[in-house]
Amino acid sequence: MIDGTAQMEQSAVGSRPSADDGGLILEVEDVVRRFGGILAVDGATFDVAKGSVTALIGPNGAGKTTLFNVITGFYRGDRGSIRFQGQEIVRRPPYVIARLGMVRTFQITKALAKMPVIDNMMLAAPDQPGERLYNLVVRPAAARARERAVRARADELLAVFQLEKLAQEYAGVLSGGQRKLLEFARALMTEPTMLLLDEPMAGINPTLGARLLEHMHQLRAERGMTFLFIEHDMEVVMGQSDKVIVMAEGRVIAQGPPDEVRRDQRVIDAYLGGGAAIGSEPRR
């Protein structure tokens, strides 16, 4: 396990200075999540390097989305430690984790259907004085100015993903693929340090999908943004990621560069054992 021994020697309490120790932005250790009698996540341990693109794969029911939920605070982990940029975040509320810079998207998109696309986008921008009642009364000019800036940024991002014509439409009328793009664009509005994407490519046509990936690499290169995504499309996984983490039955069974992982016997067994071969997972 990469850096496993180094982790054991570190103390757990409180936050350590900056994220440059070993360049790890996310350290997950022995995370357990139980539902009734079932161990959905059974001692997952892995880490993610700053500025990397990492894929999380595994057969259906391996616990990938559950793990995302625990990492981002939507589920309460029963055990384990999760450190983001050196700070312990296990069981902190999801909005705190998002504000710390780790933002996630959802497998079944959460586009706010009865709100216009542009509102979806503008909602996500950080540091909006207009979101506090106090500022609306006492500093309205600052609120208005930021709102204009947010609007400009939102229009910019929508254009990148060719959604600008839909800005005034209710998000509910968008197609599935468009909603995935909206959710990605919306997540980018938050100016995150690390993005956790749950099946970002599902339902998107190849051209736009390529754009999304291009944008991802651009953000990584220009801003050092880190990406961790769950995907079933093996071409994307093998072709785009620096590191692949494989889960099966709640456990991390392998992690490393794509070529290494794809040849790992345990990984092959996990997929074949589940009745599927690597690369032939159906897209949902």
Binding site: Y95, A98, T105, L112, L136, A143
Partner: protein
């Protein structure tokens, strides 16, 4: 004109009748604006609004009558107490799902009412609390003089109350209108749409829900003051859960996403409710009272069955269906 069975419509031409209806409607606009912010904009089902009304009214009444505070000091203090109670109830219960939150708020409201009923020494219990409206009467007289100076001879006695209620209702409507169009309002709507999405974007949704509840508490307390002044005395009977449900009937009548709908719904509802009081049907007063509430129930059922977006709501923005 007298119809068969002795039904008369004389009341409908009586200015006093319409003033009375107007006061009740205006009070309910304030009351229901709080519900609309909660249900229509934030997605929280607050069934305890009558409790906030009770706290506002009783806090004001007790401070004036028992503690001899100035009326004008007691009013804002009572509002703060109502807000405090709202936060106290909201903090633990807003993390519950919608129907549990609704039940928790009714329970909280009933605890308030039972306390008002049983703390007889302080609140007067069922006997009622009197004597808090002296300052109001002075203000009312001043307004009456002002109206007379404008040329209106012998204005209706309750008209000053009508004016004050509707001025406040309009101010509240305008303020809420701007607040909900702001970025703050945008977060509220996101909380209603999908709370997890809002949290994933870094919004502290609990804080927003608490603010929504606190504003509803303020509006409820204001409505409580007007109920107290209108009745001239305070009794726990005026704050039964039934009144919260009437507020909901007004809300769904007017359409959940429309402010003018709240005003229209309130006027329609109270015209119906008060109107049946003045039509001289040949049945006992008790039965007339029963009929009024039967109508409220029927309105709720029929609206939910056939027009859940209310008279003025849009089907696309329908908040009630999941």
């Amino acid at each position: 004109m007298t119809l068969p069975l002795g039904v008369t419509f004389d009341a409908f031409t009586d200015f006093g009748f319409w003033t009375s209806v107007g006061i009740l409607a205006g009070t309910y606009v304030l009351f229901t604006l709080g519900l609309q912010l909660n249900v229509g904009y934030t997605g929280i089902v607050n069934f305890g609004q009558a409790g906030f009304m009770a706290i506002g009214a009783y806090a004001m009444g007790v401070l004036v009558v028992k503690a001899h505070w100035s009326f004008w000091l007691a009013l804002p203090t009572a509002v703060f107490i109502a807000i405090g109670f709202g936060l106290l109830v909201g903090l633990p219960s807003l993390r519950l799902r919608a129907d549990y939150f609704a039940i928790a708020t009714i329970a909280a409201a009933e605890i308030v009412r039972i306390t008002a009923l049983n703390l007889r020494d302080v609140t007067g219990g069922n006997q009622g609390l009197f004597g808090f409206d002296e300052s109001w009467n002075n203000l009312s007289d001043q307004i009456t003089s002002w109206l007379e100076s404008l040329g209106w001879s012998d204005p209706e006695q309750l008209f000053p109350l009508f004016i004050v209620v509707w001025v406040l209702a309009l101010i509240a409507t305008v303020l809420l209108h701007f607040a909900t169009k702001s970025p703050w309002g945008r977060v509220l709507r996101a909380v209603r749409e999908d709370e997890d999405a809002a949290r994933a974007l870094g919004k502290n949704t609990l804080a927003y829900k608490l603010q929504s509840l606190a504003i509803a508490a303020t509006l409820g307390a204001l409505a409580g003051f007007f109920v107290a002044i209108n009745l001239n005395f305070l009794t726990p009977e005026a704050f039964l859960p039934a009144f919260t449900f009437i507020g909901y009937a007004v809300l769904v009548l007017g359409g959940l996403a429309s402010y003018w709908g709240v005003a229209a719904g309130a006027i329609i509802m109270w015209t119906i409710l008060e109107g049946t009081r003045f039509i001289d049907l040949p049945i006992s007063a008790e039965r007339e009272a029963a009929v009024r509430f039967m109508i409220v129930g029927l309105v709720l059922i029929l609206l939910m069955a056939f027009r859940p977006q209310g008279l003025f709501g849009k089907k696309e923005e329908m908040v009630l269906g999941d």
